[in-house]
Amino acid sequence: MSTQALPAAPTSGRDHLDARHDRLFKGAVTLVAIFVLFSLAGAALSMLWGGRDVLASQGLSFFYSSDWDPVAGQYGALVPIYGTVVTALIAMLISIPVSFGIAFFLTEIAPRWLRTPVGTAIELLAGIPSIIYGMWGFFVLMPMMREDIIPWMTDNLGPLPVVGTLFQGAPIGAGMLTSGLVLAIMVIPFISSTMREVFLTVPGRLKESAYALGSTRWEVVWDIVLPYTRSAVIGGIFLGLGRALGETMAVAFVIGNSVQFTASLLEPSTTIAALIANDFGEATPEYRSALLLLGFVLFLVTFVVLAIARYMLMKLSQREGT
Protein backbone atom coordinates (compact mmCIF):
# COMPACT_ATOMS: atom_id res chain seq x y z
CA MET A 1 0.00 0.00 0.00
CA SER A 2 2.86 2.34 0.74
CA THR A 3 4.00 2.13 -2.86
CA GLN A 4 0.89 3.94 -4.02
CA ALA A 5 1.92 7.04 -2.14
CA LEU A 6 5.35 7.22 -3.76
CA PRO A 7 6.04 9.81 -6.48
CA ALA A 8 6.43 8.39 -9.93
CA ALA A 9 9.87 6.85 -9.74
CA PRO A 10 11.83 5.50 -12.68
CA THR A 11 10.67 2.01 -13.54
CA SER A 12 13.82 0.36 -12.35
CA GLY A 13 13.52 1.97 -8.90
CA ARG A 14 9.91 0.94 -8.70
CA ASP A 15 10.87 -2.58 -9.67
CA HIS A 16 13.46 -2.70 -6.93
CA LEU A 17 10.93 -1.44 -4.42
CA ASP A 18 8.36 -4.00 -5.51
CA ALA A 19 10.92 -6.75 -5.30
CA ARG A 20 11.88 -5.66 -1.81
CA HIS A 21 8.27 -5.56 -0.67
CA ASP A 22 7.71 -8.96 -2.19
CA ARG A 23 10.66 -10.33 -0.28
CA LEU A 24 9.46 -8.69 2.94
CA PHE A 25 5.96 -10.12 2.53
CA LYS A 26 7.23 -13.56 1.72
CA GLY A 27 9.66 -13.44 4.64
CA ALA A 28 6.89 -12.41 7.05
CA VAL A 29 4.45 -15.16 6.06
CA THR A 30 7.23 -17.75 5.97
CA LEU A 31 8.18 -16.76 9.51
CA VAL A 32 4.62 -17.31 10.72
CA ALA A 33 4.39 -20.67 8.96
CA ILE A 34 7.58 -21.76 10.71
CA PHE A 35 6.09 -20.48 13.97
CA VAL A 36 3.18 -22.88 13.45
CA LEU A 37 5.67 -25.66 12.84
CA PHE A 38 7.54 -24.95 16.06
CA SER A 39 4.52 -24.33 18.25
CA LEU A 40 3.70 -28.03 18.24
CA ALA A 41 7.23 -28.98 19.18
CA GLY A 42 7.24 -26.10 21.67
CA ALA A 43 4.11 -27.44 23.33
CA ALA A 44 5.71 -30.85 23.82
CA LEU A 45 9.07 -29.56 24.98
CA SER A 46 7.65 -26.94 27.35
CA MET A 47 5.61 -29.55 29.19
CA LEU A 48 8.57 -31.90 29.37
CA TRP A 49 10.66 -29.01 30.68
CA GLY A 50 8.00 -28.08 33.23
CA GLY A 51 7.87 -31.68 34.42
CA ARG A 52 11.63 -32.23 34.57
CA ASP A 53 11.77 -32.10 38.41
CA VAL A 54 9.31 -34.91 38.84
CA LEU A 55 10.79 -36.91 35.99
CA ALA A 56 14.18 -36.63 37.67
CA SER A 57 12.91 -37.65 41.12
CA GLN A 58 10.56 -40.43 39.99
CA GLY A 59 12.43 -41.74 37.00
CA LEU A 60 10.61 -44.19 34.81
CA SER A 61 8.42 -45.40 37.68
CA PHE A 62 6.25 -42.37 36.86
CA PHE A 63 4.89 -44.35 33.94
CA TYR A 64 4.19 -47.71 35.58
CA SER A 65 3.71 -47.11 39.32
CA SER A 66 0.13 -46.76 40.51
CA ASP A 67 1.12 -44.91 43.67
CA TRP A 68 -0.06 -41.29 43.27
CA ASP A 69 0.40 -39.47 46.56
CA PRO A 70 1.32 -35.79 46.18
CA VAL A 71 1.67 -35.28 49.95
CA ALA A 72 4.33 -37.97 50.20
CA GLY A 73 5.93 -36.86 46.93
CA GLN A 74 5.01 -40.10 45.17
CA TYR A 75 3.95 -39.73 41.56
CA GLY A 76 3.03 -42.88 39.66
CA ALA A 77 0.72 -42.15 36.77
CA LEU A 78 -0.56 -45.64 35.99
CA VAL A 79 -4.10 -45.02 37.29
CA PRO A 80 -4.80 -41.90 35.18
CA ILE A 81 -3.14 -43.45 32.13
CA TYR A 82 -5.21 -46.62 32.54
CA GLY A 83 -8.37 -44.56 33.11
CA THR A 84 -7.73 -42.50 29.99
CA VAL A 85 -7.27 -45.56 27.80
CA VAL A 86 -10.23 -47.49 29.24
CA THR A 87 -12.73 -44.61 29.05
CA ALA A 88 -11.69 -43.88 25.47
CA LEU A 89 -12.04 -47.57 24.55
CA ILE A 90 -15.55 -47.76 26.05
CA ALA A 91 -16.47 -44.63 24.14
CA MET A 92 -15.14 -46.08 20.87
CA LEU A 93 -16.89 -49.42 21.43
CA ILE A 94 -20.24 -47.63 21.57
CA SER A 95 -19.71 -44.78 19.14
CA ILE A 96 -18.15 -46.61 16.18
CA PRO A 97 -21.13 -48.89 15.38
CA VAL A 98 -23.65 -46.15 16.17
CA SER A 99 -21.82 -43.59 14.02
CA PHE A 100 -21.54 -46.06 11.18
CA GLY A 101 -25.28 -46.70 11.48
CA ILE A 102 -26.01 -42.99 11.38
CA ALA A 103 -23.77 -42.47 8.35
CA PHE A 104 -25.44 -45.47 6.62
CA PHE A 105 -28.84 -44.01 7.46
CA LEU A 106 -27.92 -40.55 6.19
CA THR A 107 -26.35 -41.66 2.91
CA GLU A 108 -28.45 -44.67 1.81
CA ILE A 109 -31.59 -45.20 3.90
CA ALA A 110 -33.15 -41.84 4.69
CA PRO A 111 -35.40 -40.16 2.14
CA ARG A 112 -33.57 -37.40 0.31
CA TRP A 113 -35.45 -34.51 1.93
CA LEU A 114 -34.43 -35.76 5.38
CA ARG A 115 -30.71 -36.13 4.68
CA THR A 116 -29.55 -32.53 4.67
CA PRO A 117 -31.48 -31.30 7.74
CA VAL A 118 -30.50 -34.28 9.89
CA GLY A 119 -26.92 -34.16 8.65
CA THR A 120 -26.69 -30.45 9.42
CA ALA A 121 -28.24 -30.95 12.85
CA ILE A 122 -25.67 -33.59 13.71
CA GLU A 123 -22.84 -31.38 12.50
CA LEU A 124 -24.11 -28.52 14.65
CA LEU A 125 -24.34 -30.82 17.65
CA ALA A 126 -20.69 -31.72 17.14
CA GLY A 127 -19.91 -28.09 17.97
CA ILE A 128 -21.66 -27.97 21.34
CA PRO A 129 -19.10 -27.24 24.08
CA SER A 130 -17.96 -30.37 25.90
CA ILE A 131 -18.75 -28.88 29.31
CA ILE A 132 -22.46 -29.15 28.42
CA TYR A 133 -22.07 -32.91 27.93
CA GLY A 134 -20.27 -33.07 31.26
CA MET A 135 -23.06 -31.21 33.07
CA TRP A 136 -25.69 -33.45 31.47
CA GLY A 137 -23.75 -36.51 32.58
CA PHE A 138 -23.45 -35.14 36.09
CA PHE A 139 -27.10 -34.16 36.58
CA VAL A 140 -28.96 -36.70 34.43
CA LEU A 141 -26.86 -39.76 33.64
CA MET A 142 -25.07 -40.16 36.96
CA PRO A 143 -28.24 -40.40 39.12
CA MET A 144 -29.65 -42.92 36.64
CA MET A 145 -26.50 -45.01 36.77
CA ARG A 146 -26.46 -44.84 40.57
CA GLU A 147 -30.06 -45.86 41.11
CA ASP A 148 -30.89 -48.27 38.31
CA ILE A 149 -28.13 -49.34 35.99
CA ILE A 150 -25.23 -49.99 38.34
CA PRO A 151 -27.23 -52.06 40.90
CA TRP A 152 -28.55 -54.12 37.99
CA MET A 153 -25.05 -54.62 36.65
CA THR A 154 -23.54 -55.64 40.00
CA ASP A 155 -26.39 -58.14 40.46
CA ASN A 156 -26.35 -59.65 37.01
CA LEU A 157 -22.86 -59.14 35.63
CA GLY A 158 -20.86 -59.00 38.86
CA PRO A 159 -20.99 -62.75 39.65
CA LEU A 160 -19.75 -63.73 36.17
CA PRO A 161 -16.25 -65.21 36.03
CA VAL A 162 -13.40 -63.05 34.65
CA VAL A 163 -15.49 -60.10 33.41
CA GLY A 164 -17.29 -59.97 36.76
CA THR A 165 -14.52 -57.90 38.35
CA LEU A 166 -15.29 -55.12 35.88
CA PHE A 167 -18.82 -54.79 37.23
CA GLN A 168 -18.44 -54.85 40.99
CA GLY A 169 -18.42 -52.06 43.51
CA ALA A 170 -20.52 -49.56 45.39
CA PRO A 171 -23.17 -47.76 43.31
CA ILE A 172 -21.71 -44.26 43.34
CA GLY A 173 -22.56 -43.43 39.76
CA ALA A 174 -19.22 -41.87 38.90
CA GLY A 175 -16.71 -44.05 37.15
CA MET A 176 -15.12 -45.17 33.94
CA LEU A 177 -18.34 -46.62 32.50
CA THR A 178 -20.30 -43.41 33.03
CA SER A 179 -17.43 -41.38 31.58
CA GLY A 180 -17.17 -43.71 28.63
CA LEU A 181 -20.88 -43.29 27.96
CA VAL A 182 -20.72 -39.48 28.09
CA LEU A 183 -17.66 -39.53 25.84
CA ALA A 184 -19.45 -41.83 23.40
CA ILE A 185 -22.43 -39.49 23.16
CA MET A 186 -20.03 -36.60 22.66
CA VAL A 187 -18.00 -38.15 19.84
CA ILE A 188 -20.95 -39.75 17.99
CA PRO A 189 -21.87 -36.54 16.13
CA PHE A 190 -18.18 -35.99 15.42
CA ILE A 191 -17.41 -39.43 13.96
CA SER A 192 -20.72 -39.80 12.16
CA SER A 193 -20.41 -36.45 10.39
CA THR A 194 -16.87 -37.34 9.30
CA MET A 195 -18.06 -40.74 8.04
CA ARG A 196 -21.00 -39.18 6.23
CA GLU A 197 -18.74 -36.67 4.53
CA VAL A 198 -16.36 -39.43 3.49
CA PHE A 199 -19.18 -41.66 2.20
CA LEU A 200 -20.39 -38.79 0.03
CA THR A 201 -17.05 -38.75 -1.81
CA VAL A 202 -17.71 -42.19 -3.33
CA PRO A 203 -18.38 -41.67 -7.05
CA GLY A 204 -22.08 -42.10 -7.85
CA ARG A 205 -21.36 -44.36 -10.83
CA LEU A 206 -19.73 -46.96 -8.58
CA LYS A 207 -22.79 -47.19 -6.37
CA GLU A 208 -25.17 -47.05 -9.32
CA SER A 209 -23.33 -49.90 -11.05
CA ALA A 210 -23.70 -52.01 -7.93
CA TYR A 211 -27.39 -51.20 -7.63
CA ALA A 212 -27.87 -51.97 -11.32
CA LEU A 213 -26.39 -55.42 -10.77
CA GLY A 214 -29.00 -56.04 -8.10
CA SER A 215 -27.07 -55.30 -4.91
CA THR A 216 -29.03 -54.48 -1.80
CA ARG A 217 -28.38 -51.21 0.04
CA TRP A 218 -26.41 -53.02 2.70
CA GLU A 219 -24.24 -54.71 0.09
CA VAL A 220 -23.56 -51.37 -1.57
CA VAL A 221 -22.42 -49.84 1.73
CA TRP A 222 -20.50 -52.87 2.96
CA ASP A 223 -18.90 -54.02 -0.29
CA ILE A 224 -18.59 -50.82 -2.32
CA VAL A 225 -18.62 -47.73 -0.11
CA LEU A 226 -16.65 -49.06 2.85
CA PRO A 227 -13.75 -50.60 0.86
CA TYR A 228 -13.47 -47.40 -1.19
CA THR A 229 -13.35 -45.19 1.91
CA ARG A 230 -11.67 -47.58 4.34
CA SER A 231 -8.59 -45.52 5.14
CA ALA A 232 -10.58 -42.32 5.65
CA VAL A 233 -13.12 -44.07 7.86
CA ILE A 234 -10.28 -45.34 10.03
CA GLY A 235 -8.87 -41.81 10.01
CA GLY A 236 -12.19 -40.41 11.18
CA ILE A 237 -12.39 -43.01 13.95
CA PHE A 238 -8.89 -42.14 15.12
CA LEU A 239 -9.80 -38.43 15.12
CA GLY A 240 -12.69 -39.31 17.41
CA LEU A 241 -10.37 -41.42 19.55
CA GLY A 242 -7.99 -38.46 19.83
CA ARG A 243 -10.86 -36.35 21.03
CA ALA A 244 -12.01 -38.93 23.54
CA LEU A 245 -8.48 -39.37 24.93
CA GLY A 246 -7.89 -35.67 25.49
CA GLU A 247 -11.39 -34.66 26.55
CA THR A 248 -11.37 -32.88 29.88
CA MET A 249 -14.67 -31.32 30.83
CA ALA A 250 -17.08 -34.07 29.79
CA VAL A 251 -15.06 -36.48 31.92
CA ALA A 252 -14.11 -34.30 34.89
CA PHE A 253 -17.74 -34.15 36.02
CA VAL A 254 -18.47 -37.87 36.00
CA ILE A 255 -15.21 -39.76 36.59
CA GLY A 256 -15.23 -39.40 40.38
CA ASN A 257 -11.59 -38.30 40.72
CA SER A 258 -10.02 -41.08 42.66
CA VAL A 259 -6.38 -42.01 42.15
CA GLN A 260 -6.86 -45.39 43.83
CA PHE A 261 -6.53 -48.21 41.34
CA THR A 262 -9.72 -50.13 40.71
CA ALA A 263 -10.40 -52.81 38.14
CA SER A 264 -14.12 -52.06 38.33
CA LEU A 265 -15.64 -49.87 35.63
CA LEU A 266 -18.27 -48.71 38.11
CA GLU A 267 -16.06 -47.21 40.81
CA PRO A 268 -14.54 -43.73 40.79
CA SER A 269 -11.29 -43.45 38.90
CA THR A 270 -9.59 -40.68 36.97
CA THR A 271 -8.11 -39.80 33.59
CA ILE A 272 -5.06 -37.71 32.75
CA ALA A 273 -7.05 -34.69 31.61
CA ALA A 274 -9.56 -34.87 34.48
CA LEU A 275 -6.80 -35.19 37.07
CA ILE A 276 -4.98 -32.16 35.67
CA ALA A 277 -8.15 -30.06 35.54
CA ASN A 278 -9.28 -31.01 39.03
CA ASP A 279 -6.04 -30.68 40.92
CA PHE A 280 -4.20 -27.91 39.14
CA GLY A 281 -5.76 -25.01 41.06
CA GLU A 282 -4.65 -26.18 44.51
CA ALA A 283 -1.39 -27.85 43.51
CA THR A 284 2.03 -27.13 44.99
CA PRO A 285 4.83 -26.29 42.53
CA GLU A 286 6.14 -29.84 42.71
CA TYR A 287 2.67 -31.27 42.12
CA ARG A 288 2.21 -28.88 39.19
CA SER A 289 5.41 -30.19 37.72
CA ALA A 290 3.97 -33.72 37.94
CA LEU A 291 0.77 -32.55 36.25
CA LEU A 292 2.79 -30.94 33.44
CA LEU A 293 4.62 -34.22 32.92
CA LEU A 294 1.24 -35.94 32.82
CA GLY A 295 0.20 -33.43 30.14
CA PHE A 296 3.30 -34.43 28.18
CA VAL A 297 2.24 -38.07 28.33
CA LEU A 298 -1.23 -37.12 27.09
CA PHE A 299 0.35 -35.12 24.28
CA LEU A 300 2.49 -38.06 23.17
CA VAL A 301 -0.46 -40.46 23.14
CA THR A 302 -2.77 -38.12 21.24
CA PHE A 303 0.01 -37.14 18.84
CA VAL A 304 0.48 -40.74 17.77
CA VAL A 305 -3.27 -41.28 17.40
CA LEU A 306 -3.80 -38.05 15.46
CA ALA A 307 -0.79 -38.67 13.23
CA ILE A 308 -2.26 -42.04 12.24
CA ALA A 309 -5.63 -40.36 11.66
CA ARG A 310 -4.19 -37.68 9.38
CA TYR A 311 -2.14 -40.20 7.46
CA MET A 312 -5.22 -42.32 6.83
CA LEU A 313 -7.32 -39.33 5.79
CA MET A 314 -4.56 -38.12 3.47
CA LYS A 315 -4.61 -41.46 1.65
CA LEU A 316 -8.21 -40.96 0.54
CA SER A 317 -7.66 -37.40 -0.68
CA GLN A 318 -4.65 -38.61 -2.67
CA ARG A 319 -6.84 -41.17 -4.40
CA GLU A 320 -9.39 -38.48 -5.14
CA GLY A 321 -6.65 -36.45 -6.78
CA THR A 322 -5.63 -39.18 -9.21
Binding site: A19, H21, D22, F25, K26, A28, V29, T30, A33, F35, V36, L37, L40, G42, A43, S46, M47, G50, V98, S99, G101, I102, F104, F105, E108, A121, L125, G127, I128, P129, S130, I131, I132, F138, F139, V140, I185, T216, R217, W218, E219, G242, R243, L245, G246, T248, M249, F253, A273, I276, A277, G281, L291, L292, G295, L298, F299, F303, A307, R310
Partner: protein, 294 residues
Protein backbone atom coordinates in the same frame (compact mmCIF):
# COMPACT_ATOMS: atom_id res chain seq x y z
CA UNK B 1 -36.74 -61.48 -6.83
CA UNK B 2 -39.51 -64.03 -7.32
CA UNK B 3 -39.83 -63.51 -11.04
CA UNK B 4 -39.42 -66.84 -12.78
CA UNK B 5 -40.19 -70.36 -11.70
CA UNK B 6 -36.88 -71.44 -13.22
CA UNK B 7 -34.95 -70.05 -10.24
CA UNK B 8 -33.49 -72.95 -8.33
CA UNK B 9 -34.26 -73.35 -4.60
CA UNK B 10 -30.64 -72.67 -3.73
CA UNK B 11 -30.71 -69.31 -5.50
CA UNK B 12 -33.97 -68.46 -3.86
CA UNK B 13 -32.47 -69.22 -0.47
CA UNK B 14 -29.54 -66.96 -1.32
CA UNK B 15 -31.89 -64.16 -2.34
CA UNK B 16 -33.90 -64.58 0.82
CA UNK B 17 -30.74 -64.47 2.95
CA UNK B 18 -29.47 -61.36 1.19
CA UNK B 19 -32.80 -59.66 1.66
CA UNK B 20 -32.89 -60.63 5.31
CA UNK B 21 -29.40 -59.25 5.95
CA UNK B 22 -30.34 -56.08 4.13
CA UNK B 23 -33.51 -55.60 6.21
CA UNK B 24 -31.68 -56.23 9.47
CA UNK B 25 -28.93 -53.80 8.49
CA UNK B 26 -31.45 -51.13 7.55
CA UNK B 27 -33.31 -51.64 10.81
CA UNK B 28 -30.06 -51.37 12.75
CA UNK B 29 -29.06 -48.25 10.81
CA UNK B 30 -32.38 -46.59 11.62
CA UNK B 31 -32.04 -47.68 15.24
CA UNK B 32 -28.54 -46.19 15.41
CA UNK B 33 -29.76 -42.92 13.99
CA UNK B 34 -32.66 -42.84 16.44
CA UNK B 35 -30.36 -43.78 19.34
CA UNK B 36 -27.87 -41.03 18.52
CA UNK B 37 -30.49 -38.38 17.88
CA UNK B 38 -32.46 -39.38 21.00
CA UNK B 39 -29.47 -38.84 23.26
CA UNK B 40 -28.62 -35.55 21.63
CA UNK B 41 -32.24 -34.44 21.85
CA UNK B 42 -32.27 -35.48 25.48
CA UNK B 43 -29.22 -33.33 26.19
CA UNK B 44 -30.76 -30.34 24.43
CA UNK B 45 -34.01 -30.89 26.31
CA UNK B 46 -32.20 -30.98 29.67
CA UNK B 47 -30.33 -27.86 28.69
CA UNK B 48 -33.51 -26.02 27.73
CA UNK B 49 -35.65 -27.12 30.66
CA UNK B 50 -33.01 -26.39 33.28
CA UNK B 51 -31.48 -23.41 31.54
CA UNK B 52 -34.60 -21.39 30.82
CA UNK B 53 -35.33 -21.11 34.55
CA UNK B 54 -31.87 -19.67 35.06
CA UNK B 55 -32.15 -16.92 32.47
CA UNK B 56 -33.34 -13.58 33.75
CA UNK B 57 -32.12 -10.02 33.67
CA UNK B 58 -29.98 -10.57 36.77
CA UNK B 59 -27.91 -13.14 34.88
CA UNK B 60 -26.52 -10.33 32.73
CA UNK B 61 -26.62 -7.42 35.17
CA UNK B 62 -25.09 -8.90 38.34
CA UNK B 63 -21.76 -10.46 39.15
CA UNK B 64 -21.31 -14.02 40.34
CA UNK B 65 -22.68 -14.33 43.89
CA UNK B 66 -21.40 -16.02 47.03
CA UNK B 67 -23.23 -19.26 47.88
CA UNK B 68 -26.99 -18.95 48.48
CA UNK B 69 -27.22 -15.32 47.36
CA UNK B 70 -28.80 -13.93 44.22
CA UNK B 71 -26.53 -12.97 41.37
CA UNK B 72 -25.61 -13.47 37.77
CA UNK B 73 -22.69 -13.94 35.44
CA UNK B 74 -21.88 -10.38 34.35
CA UNK B 75 -18.20 -10.62 35.29
CA UNK B 76 -17.93 -13.93 33.46
CA UNK B 77 -19.62 -12.61 30.31
CA UNK B 78 -17.29 -9.59 30.28
CA UNK B 79 -14.29 -11.86 30.83
CA UNK B 80 -15.34 -14.33 28.14
CA UNK B 81 -15.97 -11.59 25.59
CA UNK B 82 -12.59 -9.98 26.27
CA UNK B 83 -10.61 -13.24 26.33
CA UNK B 84 -12.29 -14.69 23.24
CA UNK B 85 -12.10 -11.37 21.39
CA UNK B 86 -8.39 -11.04 22.14
CA UNK B 87 -7.84 -14.68 21.25
CA UNK B 88 -9.41 -14.15 17.83
CA UNK B 89 -7.47 -10.88 17.35
CA UNK B 90 -4.16 -12.64 18.06
CA UNK B 91 -4.89 -15.88 16.24
CA UNK B 92 -6.51 -14.57 13.06
CA UNK B 93 -3.66 -12.51 11.51
CA UNK B 94 -1.15 -15.24 12.32
CA UNK B 95 -3.45 -17.86 10.86
CA UNK B 96 -4.06 -15.87 7.69
CA UNK B 97 -0.33 -15.31 7.24
CA UNK B 98 0.57 -18.97 7.70
CA UNK B 99 -2.33 -20.04 5.48
CA UNK B 100 -1.14 -17.64 2.80
CA UNK B 101 2.33 -19.14 2.91
CA UNK B 102 0.88 -22.63 2.61
CA UNK B 103 -1.31 -21.79 -0.38
CA UNK B 104 0.95 -19.38 -2.28
CA UNK B 105 4.54 -20.24 -1.42
CA UNK B 106 4.78 -23.64 0.21
CA UNK B 107 2.19 -25.41 -1.89
CA UNK B 108 4.47 -27.77 -3.74
CA UNK B 109 7.36 -27.88 -1.31
CA UNK B 110 8.13 -30.64 1.19
CA UNK B 111 8.07 -28.07 3.98
CA UNK B 112 4.53 -27.19 2.95
CA UNK B 113 3.38 -30.77 3.46
CA UNK B 114 5.04 -30.84 6.86
CA UNK B 115 3.49 -27.55 7.97
CA UNK B 116 0.08 -28.68 6.77
CA UNK B 117 0.45 -31.95 8.67
CA UNK B 118 1.54 -30.20 11.87
CA UNK B 119 -1.32 -27.74 11.52
CA UNK B 120 -3.81 -30.60 11.19
CA UNK B 121 -2.44 -32.18 14.37
CA UNK B 122 -2.68 -28.82 16.15
CA UNK B 123 -6.26 -28.55 14.91
CA UNK B 124 -7.36 -31.61 16.84
CA UNK B 125 -4.86 -31.55 19.71
CA UNK B 126 -6.56 -31.67 23.12
CA UNK B 127 -7.18 -28.14 24.30
CA UNK B 128 -5.93 -28.96 27.79
CA UNK B 129 -2.50 -29.62 26.29
CA UNK B 130 -2.45 -26.18 24.65
CA UNK B 131 -3.48 -24.67 27.98
CA UNK B 132 -0.58 -26.38 29.76
CA UNK B 133 1.78 -25.20 27.02
CA UNK B 134 0.76 -21.58 27.50
CA UNK B 135 0.94 -22.03 31.27
CA UNK B 136 4.48 -23.36 31.06
CA UNK B 137 5.72 -20.70 28.65
CA UNK B 138 3.58 -17.63 29.24
CA UNK B 139 2.48 -17.83 32.88
CA UNK B 140 5.38 -19.64 34.49
CA UNK B 141 8.37 -18.47 32.47
CA UNK B 142 7.34 -15.01 31.22
CA UNK B 143 5.00 -13.65 33.92
CA UNK B 144 6.50 -15.28 37.02
CA UNK B 145 3.39 -17.28 37.84
CA UNK B 146 0.89 -14.44 37.34
CA UNK B 147 -2.32 -15.80 35.79
CA UNK B 148 -3.91 -13.34 33.40
CA UNK B 149 -6.70 -12.82 30.91
CA UNK B 150 -4.02 -12.21 28.30
CA UNK B 151 -2.53 -15.65 28.93
CA UNK B 152 -6.02 -17.08 28.47
CA UNK B 153 -6.34 -15.20 25.19
CA UNK B 154 -2.98 -16.58 24.02
CA UNK B 155 -4.10 -20.12 24.88
CA UNK B 156 -7.31 -19.64 22.90
CA UNK B 157 -5.33 -18.06 20.05
CA UNK B 158 -3.53 -21.40 19.68
CA UNK B 159 -6.94 -22.97 19.07
CA UNK B 160 -7.97 -20.24 16.60
CA UNK B 161 -4.68 -20.41 14.70
CA UNK B 162 -4.96 -23.87 13.08
CA UNK B 163 -8.61 -23.33 12.16
CA UNK B 164 -7.82 -20.08 10.33
CA UNK B 165 -4.69 -21.53 8.72
CA UNK B 166 -6.72 -24.41 7.33
CA UNK B 167 -9.57 -22.31 5.94
CA UNK B 168 -7.27 -19.62 4.52
CA UNK B 169 -5.19 -22.29 2.81
CA UNK B 170 -8.25 -24.03 1.38
CA UNK B 171 -10.00 -20.84 0.28
CA UNK B 172 -6.93 -19.37 -1.41
CA UNK B 173 -6.39 -22.57 -3.35
CA UNK B 174 -9.97 -22.36 -4.57
CA UNK B 175 -9.26 -19.02 -6.26
CA UNK B 176 -8.77 -19.70 -10.00
CA UNK B 177 -5.17 -19.57 -11.23
CA UNK B 178 -6.26 -17.26 -14.07
CA UNK B 179 -6.98 -14.56 -11.51
CA UNK B 180 -3.38 -14.68 -10.26
CA UNK B 181 -2.00 -14.79 -13.80
CA UNK B 182 -4.15 -11.90 -14.97
CA UNK B 183 -3.04 -9.71 -12.06
CA UNK B 184 0.62 -10.69 -12.39
CA UNK B 185 0.60 -10.04 -16.14
CA UNK B 186 -0.45 -6.46 -15.44
CA UNK B 187 2.81 -6.08 -13.54
CA UNK B 188 1.28 -6.12 -10.09
CA UNK B 189 3.79 -7.32 -7.48
CA UNK B 190 2.93 -10.65 -5.94
CA UNK B 191 2.20 -9.40 -2.43
CA UNK B 192 -0.30 -6.95 -3.87
CA UNK B 193 -1.92 -9.70 -5.90
CA UNK B 194 -2.35 -11.67 -2.71
CA UNK B 195 -3.57 -8.82 -0.52
CA UNK B 196 -5.78 -6.98 -3.01
CA UNK B 197 -7.01 -9.71 -5.33
CA UNK B 198 -6.82 -13.11 -3.66
CA UNK B 199 -7.87 -12.03 -0.15
CA UNK B 200 -10.86 -10.23 -1.57
CA UNK B 201 -11.98 -13.36 -3.36
CA UNK B 202 -11.31 -15.63 -0.38
CA UNK B 203 -12.74 -13.27 2.23
CA UNK B 204 -16.11 -15.00 2.88
CA UNK B 205 -14.31 -18.31 3.40
CA UNK B 206 -11.82 -16.78 5.80
CA UNK B 207 -14.62 -15.07 7.75
CA UNK B 208 -16.34 -18.45 8.01
CA UNK B 209 -13.15 -19.94 9.45
CA UNK B 210 -12.84 -17.16 12.01
CA UNK B 211 -16.48 -17.61 13.06
CA UNK B 212 -16.04 -21.37 13.42
CA UNK B 213 -12.97 -20.75 15.53
CA UNK B 214 -14.92 -18.28 17.67
CA UNK B 215 -17.66 -20.86 18.20
CA UNK B 216 -15.06 -23.35 19.27
CA UNK B 217 -13.17 -21.21 21.75
CA UNK B 218 -16.19 -19.65 23.44
CA UNK B 219 -17.00 -22.97 25.10
CA UNK B 220 -13.42 -23.91 25.95
CA UNK B 221 -12.85 -24.49 29.65
CA UNK B 222 -9.76 -26.59 30.13
CA UNK B 223 -7.11 -24.23 28.70
CA UNK B 224 -8.47 -21.31 30.74
CA UNK B 225 -8.06 -23.16 34.03
CA UNK B 226 -4.29 -22.67 33.96
CA UNK B 227 -4.17 -19.31 32.21
CA UNK B 228 -7.07 -16.94 32.96
CA UNK B 229 -7.71 -18.86 36.21
CA UNK B 230 -11.05 -17.17 37.00
CA UNK B 231 -11.99 -14.15 39.06
CA UNK B 232 -15.01 -13.60 41.27
CA UNK B 233 -15.19 -9.88 40.55
CA UNK B 234 -15.79 -7.74 37.51
CA UNK B 235 -12.44 -6.94 35.93
CA UNK B 236 -11.36 -5.32 32.68
CA UNK B 237 -7.65 -5.80 33.37
CA UNK B 238 -6.23 -8.43 31.03
CA UNK B 239 -2.95 -8.52 32.93
CA UNK B 240 -4.51 -10.20 35.97
CA UNK B 241 -6.86 -13.11 36.67
CA UNK B 242 -10.07 -12.98 34.71
CA UNK B 243 -13.41 -14.79 34.82
CA UNK B 244 -14.95 -16.71 31.92
CA UNK B 245 -18.39 -18.25 31.51
CA UNK B 246 -17.26 -21.90 31.19
CA UNK B 247 -14.93 -21.52 34.20
CA UNK B 248 -17.76 -20.27 36.42
CA UNK B 249 -20.04 -23.01 35.06
CA UNK B 250 -17.44 -25.62 36.02
CA UNK B 251 -17.15 -24.20 39.52
CA UNK B 252 -20.91 -23.70 40.05
CA UNK B 253 -22.32 -26.85 38.46
CA UNK B 254 -20.34 -29.13 40.75
CA UNK B 255 -21.32 -27.20 43.89
CA UNK B 256 -24.01 -28.23 46.40
CA UNK B 257 -25.72 -24.79 46.26
CA UNK B 258 -28.98 -24.66 44.31
CA UNK B 259 -28.65 -21.07 43.15
CA UNK B 260 -25.12 -21.72 41.84
CA UNK B 261 -26.35 -24.73 39.90
CA UNK B 262 -29.20 -22.64 38.53
CA UNK B 263 -26.81 -19.94 37.33
CA UNK B 264 -24.56 -22.59 35.78
CA UNK B 265 -27.46 -23.94 33.69
CA UNK B 266 -28.44 -20.42 32.66
CA UNK B 267 -24.87 -19.80 31.52
CA UNK B 268 -24.83 -23.16 29.72
CA UNK B 269 -27.95 -22.28 27.74
CA UNK B 270 -26.69 -18.82 26.76
CA UNK B 271 -23.33 -20.30 25.75
CA UNK B 272 -24.89 -23.06 23.65
CA UNK B 273 -27.27 -20.66 21.90
CA UNK B 274 -24.33 -18.38 21.12
CA UNK B 275 -22.24 -21.24 19.75
CA UNK B 276 -25.13 -22.52 17.60
CA UNK B 277 -25.89 -19.02 16.28
CA UNK B 278 -22.25 -18.38 15.34
CA UNK B 279 -21.87 -21.74 13.59
CA UNK B 280 -25.12 -21.19 11.70
CA UNK B 281 -23.91 -17.76 10.61
CA UNK B 282 -20.62 -19.31 9.45
CA UNK B 283 -22.51 -21.92 7.42
CA UNK B 284 -24.76 -19.27 5.92
CA UNK B 285 -21.83 -17.12 4.78
CA UNK B 286 -20.09 -20.11 3.21
CA UNK B 287 -23.27 -21.19 1.44
CA UNK B 288 -23.89 -17.74 -0.01
CA UNK B 289 -20.28 -17.57 -1.13
CA UNK B 290 -20.51 -20.93 -2.85
CA UNK B 291 -23.48 -19.74 -4.86
CA UNK B 292 -21.57 -16.60 -5.83
CA UNK B 293 -18.58 -18.57 -7.12
CA UNK B 294 -20.60 -20.64 -9.58
Amino acid sequence: MNAAASISPATRRLYRRRNLINSVAIALGCAAALFGLAFLGWILWTLLSKGLAGIDWALFSQDQPPPLEAGGLRNAFVGSIMICGLGVLIGTPLGIAAGTWLAEYGHRRKLGTVVRFVNDILLSAPSIVLGLFVYAVFVMALSKGQFSGLAGAVALAFIVLPVVVRTTDEMLRLVPVQMREAALSLGVPQWKVIVQVLYRSALPGIVTGVLLALARISGETAPLLFTAFGNGYLSFDVSSEMAAVPLVMYQFAGSPFDNWVQIAWGGALVLTLFVLAVSLAARFILLRNKVGHD
